[in-house]
């Protein structure tokens, strides 16, 4: 258990060091998010609150797929094998998920700030909306990391990643849009309790499954 935690910590640090040395990937994904926000601004100019919310989540979803897809796709077979000799596969999966959650939080923060600046801000209950974004980052990162692991084993292609991830992410997206719309309309917080509990439950199931299944995935 202690070794798992230590390995996970080291692997997260490794992910970050790699990302930082290779800054173009990080900058690229942040630029992707902001460029998408700006494109939406130029196409819509001003939007209804319902559309505002939906467009934000779609931007976040596409940025997430781009950002998280590469977590397994970019690593060469040889390097992956080397990691598996060093650490338990569960530590690798856990590290990837945690790192992707952090990455998603960064992307979401940048896009949300930029989004609120260019469009106006119709959100009535901001702390609740931020909680929805936080849960969104967690959900996208956990499911997409697992799907990225599966897609990387099956011939490393991006279109497969999209095909596999969309149907899996849509239920989460439905819940997230509902939760964030409640927050946007400033409804009483108790109204959203169901969605929050369900999102957390799905995330727990997804992460547990990812940790249980990943050891079967990587060996060839």
């Amino acid at each position: 258990m202690k070794k798992l935690a230590a390995d996970t910590g080291a692997l997260i640090r490794k992910e970050w060091v790699l990302e930082w040395r290779n800054r173009y990937a990080l900058n690229g994904i942040l630029l992707y998010a902001t460029a998408t926000v700006y494109t939406c601004y130029l196409s819509f100019r001003s939007v209804e609150p319902v559309v505002w919310n939906a467009v934000f989540w779609i931007i976040l979803l596409f940025s997430a797929i781009n950002a998280v897809a590469k977590s397994f796709l970019v690593e060469s077979r040889g390097r992956q094998l080397y990691f598996y000799t060093l650490a338990h596969p569960q530590a690798i999966m856990l590290a990837k998920i945690i790192y992707n959650v952090l990455l998603m939080l960064l992307i979401a923060a940048v896009s949300l700030i930029f989004y609120v600046i260019v469009f106006d801000n119709p959100v009535a209950d901001m702390p609740m909306y931020l909680l929805a974004v936080l849960l969104g980052c967690l959900s996208f990162a956990s499911t997409l990391t697992m799907v990225s692991g599966i897609a990387s084993r099956a011939g490393n292609n991006f279109s497969l990643m999209a095909i596999l991830s969309f149907p899996v992410v849509i239920p989460l997206l439905i819940l997230l849009i509902k939760l964030s719309k409640n927050a946007m309309d400033g409804l009483d917080r108790s109204v959203s309790a169901d969605e929050i509990v369900l999102l957390l439950a799905i995330n727990v199931i997804v992460i547990v499954l990812a940790l249980l299944l990943f050891p079967y995935l990587w060996r060839d």
Binding site: V147, I150, R153, L164, F166, P167, D194, L198
Partner: protein, 217 residues
Amino acid sequence: MKGIWWKTTGVVFVFYSLIGGLLFKVPELPILNESIRNIHFHVTMWFAMIALFSYGFYSSIRYLATGAEKWDIASVESNNTGIFFGVLGLVTGMIWAKFTWGEPWPSDPKLNSSAIAMLVYLAYLVLRGSIDEDQKRGRISAVYNIFAYPIMIALLFVLPRMTDSLHPGNGGNPGFSSYDLDSRLRVVFYPAVLGWILIGVWIMQIRVRIKKIANTR
């Protein structure tokens, strides 16, 4: 014929539900009218689908645990048969919706969820198609199947219950039991469910055998 008892039971129950479902007296209800008979043909498809997907899920777990090829074949064929029943469920539902709600595909959470659930399993087939090596294909598709099954369950049984829906049993609507006060539907419905599940299992078994023969050639 091996397992003749349950196979005959399946055939008898399905024929009984065809005859009983079309001829027996049904509760007289506004809007639904005689279309309530479709309950024996629409809802049973989903029961058969869930049974087959569940067996596919179980087989995938067994495949990861044992690595025996027969479990891989069992899981892919029960998913294939499950998709077939899912498509039938969508079609019978669309016919029903045309007559009761006025259009075959109103935007409704239950309908959208079931369509997405179908997409999950179609993606599973695409994933299988994209890998050439047998063992690798078996393992990776088993992992995806185990991952997708709980999400399918959430899609079909949890999410539609949380919003407004036209569909019975969802969004605060009463389920079918409220339409069936004197159990006239139940005498046909329960045998029909069992019959279609058995027929589904039979189809799946035959497909598994065909696959096994094809593999040894």
